[in-house]
Amino acid sequence: MSHDSGTSTGSRGSTNRSASTTSRRRFLVSGAAAGATALAGCAGGGGSDTLTVGHVLPTSGTYALLGESIMNGFDLYLEQNDGQLGGYEVETVQRDTAGETDTGVTITNEFLVQEGVDALVGPVSSAVAIAMMQTVQQESSAIWLNANAGDYRVTQDGCMDLHFRTSFNDWQTSAPLAQWVYENVADNVVLSYADYAFGQNSKNFFQEAFEEAGGEVVDEVAAPLGTDDYSPFLGDIESSGADAAFSFFAGSDAVNYISQFSDFGLDDELTQTGSGFLLSEDTLPAQGEAALGKYSLLHYTATKETDRNQTFVSNYSEEHDRQPNVYACQGYDSAQALDIAASNADSTDASDLASALSGAELDSPRGEFSFDPDTNEPLQSMDVREVVQGDDGVENEVVATIDDIELPDWGCSL
């Protein structure tokens, strides 16, 4: 892989060193020029023919798998395009945020000021994204492809023309499911969620939409992030008497919650629904049969039977020996978005890239989507999936696709 100048995503050990090597070289070659461009705020001043991409992603800690999947997806697109995006040679730099807010901000700052990157890809965690906003805005020297952090407040509080969500927002993975649940599952639900910003947002968005649809929220149960044993919470869920549950849990929380939900025999009493992270490619193997018959909502499903997706899945599996997850798709689309931006803008200047990408359409493995010109949020369809028994363990099957979803703009109008 010649495109990434030794900062390969696979070799974590060497990333720090190569990032600083790149730093010195780049400072000589085009760092000064990039700096001048940023100061002058005018396009084409650098005349550089490389596009530098900074991955602000975790490769260790809780979110390591997510960070690596995003980079894998990004690299796949890059490889398919001979290491070029929009006609520019791509150079990537990467440093491990470990999912820590402070580290994420430090790395962002370093990428923008020292490395003079043209594009930022990441982060995974919304806390990191919210903390990054100020630096990105202040420097205004790179386009920001947000490949995962879904907190709506990045749009509500930031509303930045440089920020594009190549992923999703937390409203999309919860609210649109409400109407479907009301029509197909039950008219009353209990809400259970991991008690932190993302879980609370998802719960609130679902509740609002579910009540608007005419449904009733019977009770809500909050469990701390990282709970190992859900038994006490499952007791509350059971005694709520609701016919269905809507939940937000992710990662190992989702594994514990779903397996124990089933262990405690709650399947006989409630239908479990949730945001897609509850029942995702990463958690299903561990959840196993406990996940069967449960519904969730997400913008990407690896088993979706479209040609575009099947091609992506087979290319990705060939390289990585496993199916792509939603994060890999988001990484892939981040590269694709940058490709479109750079080729339309014919420039590596941040504001040129941003205006070229505004409103653009992407032919993504998840399905076609475009960026809302007002918010730079992705306007995309959402899949309702049911967990079924596949040939190779349990898997998600798309049972409905919700199109033409009207996104809130959270007071942002670009």
Partner: protein, 292 residues
């Protein structure tokens, strides 16, 4: 807030089960400290290795029971390697060396786990014979969770008896109390030390396999459990097995009831409990004077 009887019963069962499984991990930690004066930060990693090896063995042979047998023994071997090739050279030195070595090992083992098994959560398949639920009063409880409760309680009782009654237990306590005297009496103390370390490792491995089928198995679990067990060992008194069992039970119940009443402040409860115990009895409930 009104709390129903069924909730209390359910939380009590979880609390006791949590307490007993935590005691399995804490027992090793406290015994190792009692005898070797080593604070073993890698002890949580041994618990994690139990779970991961359990995942592999049960997937390979399709048998939970084989996993429950083989994985803890394998963890015992890892423990022996750590003791013989790592810690032995550092006995009697500044405790900082022990902390550096065992903490370093914990980080290495975590990295190794991610490298071998990946970052995503895994789970051990519980045996089909223990599937389903039973009705206990108003509560529907999973059979497997009762099994974990029973096995860990029996094991803790057996260890208790062994330390209290058997010759081996007397030897262990004697070695902890006065190493030189035991050495002078012609007993190879270093073998006793290795034995205790391996024993602690096996118990942690058992806990790893047992919980690996009711909880997710992930690379963060080693550091997660070490914090809880440290609280337990500090409350119970460093080096005291009895203290660790009582404290584990207390911590288990507080965690379970806490989840019922005020989930977000359960951790604060635990640390407050630890602070209060330390203020009243700086050596913990059963600390210092009563070895093992």
């Amino acid at each position: 807030m009104f709390v129903e009887f069924s909730s209390v019963l359910r939380a009590t069962m979880l609390g006791v089960q949590l307490g007993m499984t935590l005691a399995l991990v804490a027992a090793g930690l406290t015994l190792i400290f009692g005898m070797l004066d080593v604070i073993n930060f890698a002890h949580g990693s041994l618990y994690m290795m139990g779970a991961y090896l359990g995942v592999t063995v049960s997937a390979q042979f399709g048998s939970f029971w084989l996993a429950l047998l083989i994985a803890p023994l394998a963890v015992g071997v890892i423990g022996a390697v750590i003791e013989v090739f790592g810690l032995r050279a550092l006995y009697g030195r500044n405790p900082l060396y022990h902390i550096l070595l065992t903490f370093g090992l914990a980080v290495m083992i975590q990295g190794l786990v991610v490298e071998i098994w990946g970052g995503q959560s895994l789970r051990i398949e519980a045996p089909a014979s223990l599937a389903g639920t039973v009705q206990i009063g108003p509560v529907e409880y999973p059979v497997y969770w009762l099994f974990v409760l029973a096995v860990s309680t029996l094991l803790i009782a057996a260890v208790w008896l062994m330390i209290d009654r058997s010759d081996l237990g007397i030897l262990m306590r004697a070695s902890a109390h006065d190493t030189e005297m035991v050495d002078a009496l012609g007993i190879d103390v270093s073998k006793v030390f290795t034995g205790v370390f391996v024993f602690g490792a096996v118990l942690a491995g058992v806990a790893g396999v047992l919980l690996g089928a009711s909880r997710s198995v992930n690379p963060g679990m080693g550091f997660g459990v070490i914090i809880e067990t440290f609280v337990i060992v500090v409350i119970g008194g460093l080096g005291s097995f009895k203290g660790a069992v009582y404290a584990a039970l207390a911590v288990g119940l507080v965690t379970a009831y806490g989840a019922l009443i005020a989930p977000s402040v359960t951790d604060i409860f635990l640390f407050t409990m630890m602070a209060v115990v330390l203020m009243i009895r700086p050596n913990g409930l059963f600390g210092a004077t009563e070895a093992a």
